[in-house]
């Protein structure tokens, strides 16, 4: 039997019910949000279940939504079932003041650097990560540069006068 988005949704609903919400399928990819404390349980279920078999972590990153007060940071998991060739996207929202999310490193070795990168740019604290340090930026950096409170320089600004750089 083909594994359709409806079937995945049904299977996950049976198991988790209210834990999952915000269902959708933008551009054909099933997307849902899991409650923060359940992220690892859902990932484990998706991994172990004989029908779902989402055993490949394609990508992991965060998105900052300053307007969603109380749940500003979204950690986005892209999972892939190689056998049935289906992809899904799972999101977990966490407040920016206390951005603790359980780490998926025990399940996927590849999550190690992806989580370090996410921590590096958004400051998401992955609880249970063996080595949560910055990966691309310098270690001394004391802020998380991809958050929306750090806008890029306005390209049309005129108040800068730096002859050396031709501005």
């Amino acid at each position: 039997m083909q594994l359709t988005n409806e079937r995945i949704r049904e299977r996950l609903n049976e198991k988790f019910g209210d834990v999952l919400s915000e269902w959708g399928d933008p551009y054909g990819m099933l997307t849902f949000t899991a409650q923060k404390d359940f992220n690892l349980k859902v990932l484990q279920f998706l991994f172990d279940d004989e029908e779902l078999r989402f055993r490949f972590l394609t990508d992991l990153q965060a998105v900052h939504y300053p307007k969603r007060v109380g749940e500003e940071l979204a950690v986005v998991y892209h999972l892939h079932n190689h056998i049935d060739n289906v992809r899904i996207r799972m999101k977990v929202y966490t407040p920016v003041e206390k951005p603790d999310v359980f780490s998926a490193t025990a399940l996927y070795a590849g999550a190690n650097w992806m989580e370090r990168e996410t921590y590096d740019f958004y400051g998401v604290n992955f609880v249970g990560h063996p080595n949560l340090i910055r990966v691309l930026n310098v270690e001394e950096m004391d802020y998380f540069p991809m958050r929306k409170e750090f806008p890029l320089e306005d390209q049309t600004r005129v108040d800068k006068d730096d002859e050396m750089f031709g501005r």
Binding site: Y27, H82, L152
Partner: protein, 406 residues
């Protein structure tokens, strides 16, 4: 004389050597640092540091219009930038709902497969260089030059190509371009065959690479390997087949797989992929030739909102002037949505995650760089091996610093 050299605690009893491999070591072919703990020549432990050429592409993308981000993708895997460019265009097209004509798809396939050849060719000949056989590198290098000449005819650039536009190509392929392609398709297979004769059954090369830096299929999947490195471990996952894009479903080709995931298998998988790419290019070229009349001149989709009008129209027609202005100033509103699109890059699944909030630049862009994800397995791959195996493992993984750091 108060300045005595003080040694760290336990240093005299230490029986191992700490070696800094990189960040600027000629044998690492890029800026990577590895702090290696050695017992004689045997590697006990390695710690990787990356980020030396991090350029904050994802952050910069949040400020730019879609067409300006293409130049950033060039600089990810700069050995095969056209694949990155095409991947980005296809992501934008998916978001904007642009459908490309068949001829554009086939031309894209030609360019992408040429890029794959140029990438694998570098990787495999560098594996040769690092194992002491320099001549193979010189044999193949002239054909990369030929590929670059084809890029030049299409887009005017060679390495950081910025090739193509949303909806198609900036200009049609000219006759010169097809001439070089004809020449390439005749000469390159001969040279590749000769290259294979130098390496594949060469006793020295085999001794040097078999069993060097191996990984099992389970570990490779767990680490998120994709592309030739995963296929060398025996998993037949290829985005071109699993989620066909750009009409890859119209072509007949096979996915080579290895079994042990060591350097030799990675070499053979890349070698076979080059043969498959040549075959795909031939098929695509044949399909391109079959277009007749007006169809044979199509090189972009009819999407004036996203595709720049011809310059002479801009000077003479009102509509064209408006579109030109809107596109250049980035005044194109994107639909709200989030899209993930991936292409089979030379190193594996190159994914683009684009979140749009309906403004004129992306809300968030994330590049899934295959290099970054599989490089974390490097310490595990080289552990227990010799120092010289570490060098050859690194080159056979085909690490590209630009893709690693983004």
């Amino acid at each position: 004389m108060s300045d005595h050299i003080t040694l760290a605690e336990g240093n005299l009893e230490k029986t191992t050597t700490t070696l800094n491999l990189g960040p600027t070591h000629p044998a690492t072919h890029g800026v990577f640092q590895n702090i290696i703990e050695l017992d004689g020549e045997k590697i006990l432990k390695a710690t990787s540091t990356v980020g030396y050429i991090h350029r904050a592409f994802e952050k910069i993308s949040e400020r730019r219009n879609l067409y300006q981000i293409t130049t950033l993708t060039d600089r990810l895997n700069y050995c095969s930038s056209p694949i990155n460019n095409m991947g980005w265009h296809m992501t934008c097209e998916k978001l904007l709902g642009v459908k490309t004509p068949k001829r554009v798809d086939y031309l894209r396939v030609i360019i992408m497969e040429l890029a794959r050849i140029s990438d694998h060719l570098i990787c495999n000949s560098i594996v040769g260089v690092d194992s002491g056989a320099y001549s193979g590198f010189l044999y193949l290098m002239q054909y990369r030059e030929m590929i670059y000449e084809i890029y030049e005819e299409v887009c005017g650039a060679r390495i950081t190509t910025n090739i193509g536009r949303i909806g198609g190509f900036e200009r049609n392929f000219n006759n010169k371009c097809f001439e070089i392609l004809d020449k390439f398709l005749v000469e390159y297979p001969k040279q590749l065959k000769e290259f294979e004769r130098l390496f594949v059954r060469n006793r020295i090369f085999m001794e040097r690479t078999i069993g060097c830096g191996p990984i099992s299929a389970e570990r490779a999947l767990n680490y998120g390997f994709t592309g030739p490195n995963l296929r060398a471990a025996g998993v037949d996952y290829d985005v071109r087949v699993h989620t066909p894009y750009s009409s890859y479903e119209d072509f007949d080709f096979t996915i080579p797989v290895g079994s042990t995931g060591d350097c030799y298998d990675r070499f053979l998988v890349r070698q076979e992929e080059m043969w498959q790419s040549i075959s795909i290019i031939r098929q695509a070229y044949q399909k391109v030739k079959e277009f007749k009349g007006a169809d044979a001149e199509v090189y972009h989709a009819d999407v004036p909102e996203y595709y720049l009008p011809p310059k002479e129209d801009v000077y003479t027609k009102m509509e064209a002037l408006i579109y030109h202005f809107k596109i250049i100033m980035g005044e194109i509103d994107m639909p709200v949505g989030e899209v993930y699109h991936s292409v089979e890059g030379a190193n594996g699944e190159l994914g683009f995650y684009l979140v749009s909030d309906g403004s004129r630049s992306p809300y968030r862009v994330h590049f899934r760089r295959p290099c970054f994800i599989y490089y974390q397995a490097y310490p595990e791959l080289i552990k227990g091996g010799m120092l010289s195996d570490a060098i050859i493992t690194m080159s056979s993984l085909n690490l590209i610093a630009g893709e690693l750091d983004a």
